[in-house]
């Protein structure tokens, strides 16, 4: 039997899914053990037990000076920036995607411009954003928008253009105006694609968020990581990295669920 036709059973599949995680953990534990055996005060690779200990402390004990549990405080601040940035981008992308995809006049005006703007490396304009929007929340949200909006607009306008011409003509013969075609034919078909596009852009969104927080901020997950870097507190950094990974993964899962729950008609088609 060819390799392409061989499938693992349920149990083996579960084991295979877990395998790389387990291997990574074992490799880390061995490395950490070897380093700590050489030098007990080594900070670069703290033992897994130490990380767990630090994690519990971070999650439950309030900061002595501010009396806040910084971990949750940072999480809240970062998530707020991220949701604002991604949410605003998604809303704008839907509007511009529909306009560019449906109206030839807007397409002629904006498609080339968006294609050029999307080539600007967002981090290169970060200093400008800090100067224009200050060091507060706004510049971080704007960086995320600058980073992912052009991609989202290009993706969504392309998706609108992919709607078969036949379907648009059919709507025209039913007497639909441009507005009705946008709202009742194009928009509903665009929303599941929007979720796919947002899922893809979550990675860059996190990147820009952490970059902005690392450079100038007073709270946030990225800020904390770059702060404790000075003390080589790898146990804190690793806790935060695992937490960010977990958050990003849950968001992806949530969006997938939303897509399946609210757009059942996409499942069987195409």
């Amino acid at each position: 039997m060819r390799l392409i036709n061989r499938h693992p059973g349920i149990v083996l599949r579960a084991a295979l899914i877990a395998l790389p995680f387990v291997l990574l953990f074992i490799a880390y534990a061995l490395g950490s053990q070897a380093r700590l055996a050489e030098n007990p005060s080594d900070k670069l690779m703290p033992a897994p037990g130490k990380i767990a200990e630090t994690a519990v402390r971070l999650l439950t004990e309030p900061d002595r000076r501010s009396e806040k549990i910084l971990f949750w405080y940072d999480t809240g601040a970062s998530l707020l920036r991220l949701t604002l940035g991604v949410g605003i981008s998604a809303a704008l992308a839907v509007i511009f995607g529909l306009l560019i995809g449906l109206l030839p006049y807007v397409r002629a005006t904006l498609a080339g411009f968006v294609a050029v703007v999307s080539m600007i490396p967002p981090l290169a304009v970060l200093p400008i954003l800090f100067i224009v929007f200050g060091l507060g929340e706004l510049s971080k949200v704007v960086l995320i928008i600058v980073g992912i909006l052009p991609f989202l607009i290009r993706d969504l306008s392309g998706r609108v253009l992919e709607i078969p011409r036949e379907m648009i003509v059919k709507a025209e013969t039913l007497g639909a105006s441009s507005l009705v075609i946008a709202l009742r034919v194009a928009l509903p078909q665009l929303l599941p694609r929007l979720i796919q596009a947002v899922r893809l852009s979550l990675g860059p969104a996190w990147l820009f968020l952490i970059a902005a927080e690392a450079i100038a901020s007073e709270q946030g997950l990225g800020y904390r990581i770059f702060l404790v870097r000075r003390f080589l507190a790898m146990d804190v950094i690793l806790t935060y990295v695992i937490w960010i990974t977990f958050l990003a993964f849950m968001m992806d899962l949530l969006l997938r669920w939303v897509s399946r729950r609210f757009f059942p008609w996409t499942e069987a088609t195409l």
Binding site: V169, T173, L174, G175, V180, W265, A268
Partner: protein
């Protein structure tokens, strides 16, 4: 005065002529089959009828009105594919046939309920009432085309345009679709234009069969001549309309 008239239609893309000197007039309630080889302009002619394209020269009028510049309510259409909206249920698709002309494309309240009742009737006629809440993806090819025809008719167009509507269906389904379309036509008396590859289908369903072809063939530059209507058959009674004996013949027919 004929219902649909096409006068001296020329259509070319760039320098390449597709249609030349197409003249045809059609009475209200006629079923016109359009046949021809691939690339002979029959689909182009349908797009011109639909007003999806405007001819380079000439004009098409329906009921004596000004030539249309874009597709509208007076023309209904069913394509081979993509004729129904995948994000709406079967019932919503039919309701859309009536509601899309509204400013927001929707009905509300009592109007909505009435529209849904009418749509249910249409679905019953199409044999789709048991699938009202399903999405089109769950329908077979024949059911999807029945839905597309039902949706187009819900908008009450003046002419119905079919672009190879049964091209993607298996032979058995195709036969039942023929019966469905004939019944529907007998009921509504609609003027229909149908493009098809299938000669037999064209003669079976049509009152007239228009054949599109190039009238001349230039061996040095075959693309220089566009197609036109080369034959216009009377297709009633299986293509032999004058064989019907009109007078009583007093011949004994075995029962």
């Amino acid at each position: 005065m004929s219902f649909v008239t096409a006068t001296n239609i020329f259509q070319s893309y760039g320098r390449r002529p597709i249609l030349e000197r197409v003249n045809v007039s059609v009475e209200e309630g006629e079923f016109i089959s359009i046949v021809g080889a691939s690339g002979c302009g029959k689909s182009t002619f349908l797009r011109l009828l639909l007003a999806q394209e405007t001819p380079t020269k000439g004009e098409i009028r329906i009921g004596g009105e000004e030539p249309a510049r874009e597709p509208g309510l007076d023309r209904g259409v069913v394509f081979q594919k993509y004729s129904v909206f995948p994000h709406m249920t079967v019932l919503e698709n039919v309701v859309a046939g009536e509601s899309f002309r509204r400013p927001w494309g929707r009905f509300a309240g009592a109007e909505k309920r009435a529209a849904r009742d009418r749509a249910m009737e249409t679905l019953t006629r199409c044999g789709l009432d048991h699938m009202a809440d399903a999405y089109p993806a769950a329908l077979s090819g024949g059911m999807q085309q029945r839905l597309a025809i039902g949706q187009a008719l819900a908008a009450k167009p003046r002419i119905l345009l079919l672009d190879e509507p049964f091209g993607a269906l298996d032979p058995g389904t195709r036969l039942s679709m023929h019966a469905f379309l004939m019944d529907l036509r007998a009921e509504t008396g609609m003027t229909v234009f149908m493009v098809t590859h299938d000669l037999e289908e064209g003669f079976k369903l049509g009152d007239r069969v228009l054949v599109f072809d190039k009238p001349r063939w230039d061996p040095t530059d075959p693309d220089i001549i566009g197609a036109t209507i080369t034959y216009d058959f009377d297709a009633r009674n299986g293509g032999i309309p004058y064989q019907t004996i009109e007078e009583e013949t007093h011949v004994l027919h075995p029962a």
